[in-house]
Each structure stands twice: as C-alpha cells, then as structure tokens.
C-alpha cells in the first residue's frame, strides 16, 4: 500500500536480506516479462498492445517489495520539526510514494484518457498539460460544457509533497481531490456510475486494473481509479532546477542577477520566501492576499467556505513557484498575464485590489515593500531559475478508450 512518508527502514542490510532483495527484484523482472508475454497471448484478449511498465519513473527506486520510492538530494538534509520549510539546504515536507510501477503507469493512461470525462472530450491532461507546466495556459479552465471552471488549473509538479489540495484547500489527499474535477459540471462533467461503467466496459482497462491492483477483484472501483491517478501524479517531481544546483552548493549555477533576485526574494522587505518557502517554494498554508478577480467576475470567498472562517475570506493555498515560468497566467483566477505583473501586484501596496465594501483579513506579510523596478526585474529573473521539467512523463500515443489522449493534440505538442 502507498505509504504516507518515507520509511525509517534499516539503512544497512545483512547479506541474507540483500540476497532476498535481489531474488525479489529478479522475481519482479520475471513477472514483468511474463506480463509482456501474456499481453501478446490471445487468451487474455490483450492484443490491444497496452502494457503497464514494471519500472519506476526517474528519481524513483524500485524496492524489494515491488514499490517505487523517491530519491532526491534534499533527503540528505533535515528541517525544523520535519516540516520541510527553511533555506537552501533543508529537507522537503513529508511526501507520498510507495506505489507500484504498474499503478503509476495505469495512472498515466487514465490521466490522459478522455474517457474520464462525461462526454469523452477532456482528460485530466486537458487542463494539466505537460507542455504548460501541468497547468493549461488559460486564466480559468474551461470544462466539458464550455463553462468557465471559476479558477485556474494549478500545476501538478511536486504535488507529492502537499498536504492539502485545490485552491481552497478543501481536500486533504490526492485521492480525495480527484472527484472534485471529475464530477463537477463545470469541469469534466462526469458521474461516478457512468465513470465506472465506461471503465468496466473496457476490456483493456479491466485487464490493466487487475494487473495494477492484484488484490482488488475483477470490478474496477472508484478507489482504485483515484489511487492510480494519485500514483501517477506523485511522480511529477521537479527538484533539479538551476536554483537547486545552487542550493546544493554549486555557486555558479546562478548568475549574479539571479542571485541578487534570490536575495530580494528571501529578504524581509519583499518577504516572498516567507510563504513561498524553499525548498518547495510553498509553505503549504492558506493566505489571504487580496488578489483581484478578473473584470465581471464575482468575489471568490476561497477558504472561508472550507473552514467556515470569516477571517479566511478570500484565502487561497499558497502555490508552489516551481516551474512558475511555465504556468502563466497567474493567481487563482488568472488575473495576471506575466510574472512581472504578478510581482508588481505585491509591490502596489497592501490591499490594492480589495473590492470596495469587502473586509479582508490580509496576511501580515502582505505589505508595501516599495521595491524598485530593478528589484522587480531581478525577482522575475530569479523565478525563471526554478524551471525543471526533466522528468516530464511521456504522453501516451494512444489510450485504452481509443479516444485522442489530449483534446487538442496539435496545440499540445507544439
């Protein structure tokens, strides 16, 4: 089963368990080979060519138990109270891993398969596009019925490290988050019964789920769908940007302007790092910052509703800034088209975009920092150093439903 945290397993194994581990690996490889062969066997109706990978994605190690565990350089460090916030060499927050490679790969097929939407026109990948930083480049996503989803698609990079999900923090796991977009009429517009029917009617999916969830029986369940989607999303790891190389000790990874930008970023004048805290560049909290809604859009109460707390009115989750240069436009409703406009918003003074008549309890770090134009430019330069898409997964050429994996393949693959 997936673990919520990296374990405290023994670091040194005696020779006997090591041997056992080798045997298990061999067994796993053998099993993978068997599956590949079985896939070609007519009796399994697997002439469809879909095979789940038995290998873990890059940055993950295949463990003896057949699960994948994350390996990253930040694991050499620790952090105060284990909360994963701090400075350059600080460990990351607790993360999700421990899924089987087959679950991860099944999640990849599901993620890109429009069969998950009510009318078969949108996949998760329609709004979380690999070529757009796993956002969609739109101010607010557009659902299957052409409706404005109300908020921008957040990036999925490094979601393995988050403790709460959706802009208003109303879900506490990836699994709990999944039904939100799947069944919202403003987003993918599906219904649980229809989703399960369409998957269970598909022989390929039935076979792949059996392979990914050997103990789960013959019928595809909602829980297994969510687990597979979560398994895939937790492999979207972006921790090897130029900033990271600087943080680990290679000073030349950033140029002088970028380092100056880092120093503006973490200074208590700008206070960016107080909420967008390294190494994840989010502290995982809800903050009321008073970002504007686009013209004609009603005020979004955000986390007020989630926590039934008037003081969190207009509060949203602090988003990660990793790959931020790839995910314009910005803020919960896409109010700003560029990073420059976004940093300028924070510089225009506390509450500069709060609508008349609204009383918001703005976060105390929202101040009036009076940064110079030069400093704003340095900030933007620094934000560009947080880009790392080396582990972008492969978009399947085709998915088990036979539908096109993305709603607009031409646009997506440019």
């Amino acid at each position: 089963m997936p673990s919520r945290r990296r374990g405290d397993e023994l670091s040194i194994r005696s020779a006997r368990p090591l041997l056992l581990a080798c045997l298990l690996v061999i067994a796993a490889v053998a099993a993978a080979v068997t599956v590949t062969r079985a896939g070609m066997h007519p009796a399994t109706k697997a002439g469809d060519g879909f095979v789940l990978s038995g290998r873990c994605p890059p940055s993950f190690e295949l463990m003896a138990g057949g699960t994948c565990e994350l390996r990253d350089r930040y694991q050499f460090y620790d952090s105060l109270q284990g909360r994963g916030v701090g400075g350059t060499r600080t460990s990351l927050p607790p993360h999700r891993d421990g899924f089987r490679p087959q679950q991860i790969d099944l999640g990849r097929y599901l993620f890109f398969d429009p069969i998950l939407s009510g009318d078969g026109t949108q996949s998760c990948g329609s709004c979380h596009r690999p070529d757009r930083g796993f956002a969609d480049g739109k101010p607010r996503s557009i659902g299957v019925h052409g409706r404005d989803a109300g908020r921008a698609a957040p990036t999925l990079w490094n979601v393995a490290f988050l403790q709460s999900f959706l802009w208003d923090a109303r879900a506490s796991s990836l699994e709990a988050q999944a039904p939100g977009p799947l069944f919202s009429p403003r987003e993918m517009g599906n219904e649980p019964a229809r989703l399960l029917r369409s998957l269970n009617d598909n022989a390929t999916y039935r076979r792949l789920f059996r392979q990914a969830f050997p103990g789960s029986g013959d019928t595809i369940t909602e829980a297994d769908v969510y687990t597979a989607l979560a398994a895939f999303q937790t492999t979207l790891i972006s921790l090897n940007s130029r900033y990271d190389r600087y943080a680990h000790g290679y000073a030349a990874a950033l140029n002088e302007r970028e380092i100056a930008g880092l120093n503006v970023f973490r200074s208590f004048v700008a206070r960016c790092a107080e909420c967008h805290t390294p190494p994840l560049f989010t502290n995982g909290q809800v903050a009321v910052i008073g970002a504007p809604e686009p013209a004609g859009h009603p005020f979004d109460v955000g986390a007020e509703k989630t926590f039934d707390a008037i003081k969190l009115r207009g509060g949203f989750k602090v988003p990660t800034l990793r790959n931020i240069a790839r995910t314009a436009p910005y803020m919960h409703s896409g109010a700003f088209g560029t990073l420059r406009e976004t940093v300028a918003f924070y510089n225009k003074g506390r509450g500069n975009a709060v609508p008349p008549g609204e009383t918001l309890y703005l976060h105390w770090h929202i101040s009036s920092p009076d940064l110079t134009a030069t400093e704003l430019g340095l900030l933007v330069d620094f934000l560009q150093t947080l880009t790392d898409e080396a582990f972008t997964p492969e978009i399947p050429q085709r998915v088990p439903s036979g539908l096109p994996p993305l709603d607009n393949p031409k646009e997506s693959r440019t």
Binding site: Q75, F76, Y250, A309
Partner: protein, 453 residues
C-alpha cells in the same frame, strides 16, 4: 528631614495595612499564600537534552562554554579592510574560514549560503566595522549556512533586517550594534540551536530581536530599545530569554503563536531576570503587521504560547500593564489557523518585581478591574481569554485582573535550568535510510560545495 520621611512612611504603612486588612477581610475565604522563592521547588518541566547530547551539555556547562554552539573556529582566516568587500571574502572562503573585518564602512548585502563561516568585526579603540545600507539595501547579513557566527559589527540603515537567518543551525549572533535596520534587527528563522547575546539593537519597526520558528535558542544580555517590539519569541520552542535590558519599546517581551505559519506552536519559553522598563513608545509598526496590534505600554505579552515561565524580572513603568496573557480570539488583528491552538496554556508567573505599571491602561483593562472591584488601580497583570493550567506565585503583591482561577505554582524557580542549548547539532543531515543508501554521492556533493557562496 529624616524624621519627616519616617513619619510619612509610617502613615503610609498604617494606611496600607488598613487597606490591606480591608482587602483581606473581603478575601478571607481564600487565605493569602505567601511563598518564598528562596530554596523552593525547582522547575521540573522544560526541554531536556537526551542521551549523548545531555552528557555534552553537562560537560560544556562545567567547562563554562555553553554559549559556543557553532563549534571550534575552522583553520582558515582572512582579513577584510576598509574599501574591500565582505561578500567577496565570503564568496572566496572555504567552509571553516574566519573573516576578520577591520573598522571602516561597508555598504553591501552579505549572504552566506555555506557552512562554518565566521564574520568577526575587529573593534579598534571603539571603532567598529560599519555596514551601512544607506536606506537602499534590504539586508545586511543573510545566512542559510550552518555554524554561522557574526560578531562585533555595527549595522545601520537597512530596509529589511540587520541579521537574518534562514534555516541555519548552530548560530551565534553576538556583540553587534544594530540601529534602524528596517523590519527586524536580528531575525534567526527556521533554525535550531542558536545564541543571540550582547547585542544592542534599536530603532526597529517590528521586533528588535525576533526568534521565528526556531528551536533551542538563548537570548541573553542584549539591550533593545526604541523599537515596536523588544524581544519576540514566535512559533518557537525551548527558548530562554534572560538578563536583557528591554526598554522604551511599544511592547517589551513577547511570546506569540502567529497563525498561518507552517510551524504551529510556541512552547517552553523562560523569560527571567530581564529588566522590562518603560515600554511606552508609540507603536509605529506597519499597518497589518502583528506587532501593530500591541498596545503601546505593554511589558510582557503572551499570546497563545504554552508553558511560558516569567520569573525574576523587573517590570516597571509600562503604562498599559506589566504582563498581558491573551489568546487569538481577543487579538483583533490576528487571523485564524485551524491547526493552531489559540490559548495560552500553562503560563507560570513566578516572583517578579512589578512597579508602576498600568497607570494608563486600555479600556478592556479598566473594565476588568472594575468588574473585580479594583477600579482605578494600576494594573500589573491582566489575563483575557482561556489560559488553562496557569499559575501565579504571591499574587497578593500585584494588581491583577482575570487571574482568579490561576492556581499556586508547584515550583518557585528555574535555577536548575541553565540552558536549552545543545552541542552543535548535525548540519541538516538526514538519518533516513534512503539518504544512507546514497551517502557516497552526498559526500561528493559536499566536496564540490566549497565554491558556493
């Protein structure tokens, strides 16, 4: 002359005795408990180092070297002279370098993203090296490395911080003069095991010394004044604040939980043997800042922090109150945090000297006094909001409001607790199995890090 004084004193004594008697008459249901703090029970709570660390703490205490948490100086040393750059020296330095800075004026931001760097000012006949931000630069010293030491500097006219730390462990910030450096004077954040001592900090728009989200910190022998907040312990654990002179700020000593931060608690703080005097400076905190809500005239403020011991301080001339204990619900400008416990649990008010506090208190204070039949008196201690498990020693000595349900404390002193500091804690090395498996590549990374600035 002498006789007149004696007579006046005698009359005053009679009057006091009469008033006291009347009071005791009314309060006779609960007898006055007079506790001597000399030789009383010692504090059994608080942080205790464990295992090997405990032995080292004991050994260090016996050797008189408790305040050295950054380890011994490294083998390298360079000198920076007036006209040169401290930052350039840091960039060139290998970990383990002591950078001696000669008197002169240096106008730069010095950031330290590597371990074991010491920046030590050389004071010549009273002349210090001066870092001058000219109100253009943001921060003077910005460190994220471990085992960082900064001493003997004079830091002026920055916009953000004098010294700011982000996650460095084992820090020593000592003997610096910091004037008008913007938001904070000295601000270690997200670090463990650090000393802030013998600094003189003034003219700061938020807290002169602000320990934020840190563990095992010792703040001692500092003078902090003319700032909005003197010394603030926020979302931190195991802090001792002792022997500081905290005067002429808007608020003197603060122990807070600020909502919305990733570290959710403030716990185990000892405020002892400080002078907390005349903290009546007009609050010039930035609108919206947490400290902007502190009433000017506050000696000690505890908000949502747990296990705070207040002992042996001289708290005088603070016009709103000597000590305020409150919670998130009663602080108007504080947001909420579903994950933060909003009350100040187990505040322990041991013997303190309180003089002439609360002579111009806030309406809430007046109302509470009135409700308790103490209208018109000068308020020493006020508690607003739940504060379960709290206690007070010799309550009869003070004018109090809202502490009726505080019990007697089961200890009278913390003399047995000399420090919460540790021997240098390992610099951010993971003990997890995954790291251990690939430690060899970590060593390689460390070997290449000598070029980092």
């Amino acid at each position: 002359m002498n006789k007149i004084v004696k007579t006046v004193l005698a009359i005053a004594a009679i009057a006091a005795a009469f008033a006291g008697g009347a009071y005791l008459g009314r309060a006779s249901k609960s007898d006055m408990v007079i506790t001597s703090s000399a030789g009383g029970a010692e504090y059994s709570g608080g942080f205790k180092a464990e295992g090997e660390a405990a032995e080292k703490v004991k050994a260090a205490a016996n050797a008189g070297s408790l305040k050295s948490v950054a380890g011994a100086p490294g083998p390298h040393s360079v000198v920076v002279k007036d006209g040169e750059s401290i930052l350039q020296a840091v960039k060139n330095a290998e970990p383990g370098t002591t950078i001696r800075v000669m008197p002169g004026t240096y106008s730069e931001t010095v950031y330290i993203d590597k371990d074991n760097i010491r920046i030590i000012g050389v004071i010549e006949a009273g002349r210090r090296p001066v870092l001058d931000g000219k109100k253009q630069l943001n921060d003077a010293i910005l460190y994220s490395g471990n085992n960082f030491v900064v001493e003997n500097l004079e830091i002026r006219n920055y916009k953000g911080n004098g010294v700011m730390g982000q996650a460095g462990n084992n820090f020593e910030i000592r003997n610096n003069v910091i004037v008008d450096t913007g938001v904070y004077g000295i601000f270690p954040q997200l670090g463990q095991n650090g000393v802030v001592e013998h600094n003189v900090v003034s003219g700061i728009a938020d807290a002169a010394i602000y320990v934020g989200m840190s563990d095992n910190v010792h703040v001692a022998h500092n003078e902090v004044f003319d700032s909005v907040a003197g010394i603030e312990i926020e979302n931190s654990r195991h802090a001792i604040v002792e022997n500081n002179y905290v005067h002429d700020n808007s608020g003197g000593l603060l122990a807070f939980v600020t909502p919305g931060l990733p570290i959710k608690t403030t716990q185990d703080v000892i405020f002892r043997h400080n002078f907390v005097v005349n903290n009546n400076t007009k609050n010039f905190g930035a609108p919206g800042s947490t400290v902007a809500g502190i009433p000017s005239g506050t000696g000690v403020l505890v908000m949502a922090a747990d296990d705070v011991v207040i002992e042996g301080n001289v708290i005088s001339g603070n016009k709103v109150a000597g000590v305020i204990v409150t919670d998130h619900g009663h602080a108007a400008n504080i947001t909420v945090d579903p994950e933060s416990e909003p009350n100040s649990d187990r505040v322990r008010l041991l013997d303190n000297v309180m003089l002439n506090n609360g002579y111009e208190t806030i309406p809430e204070g007046k109302a509470l006094l009135l409700a308790e039949g103490k209208g018109g008196k000068n308020l020493d201690i006020i508690r607003v909001g739940p504060s379960p498990g709290s206690c007070i020693v010799n309550r009869h000595q003070y004018v109090t409001a809202g502490v009726g349900d505080f019990g007697e404390c089961d200890f009278t002193h913390t003399a047995n607790v000399s420090t919460y500091l540790l021997p240098p804690v390992p610099p951010r090395r993971s003990t997890s199995a995954s790291a251990a498996r690939s430690r060899s590549s970590a060593s390689a990374a460390a070997a290449t890090s000598t070029t980092a600035a």
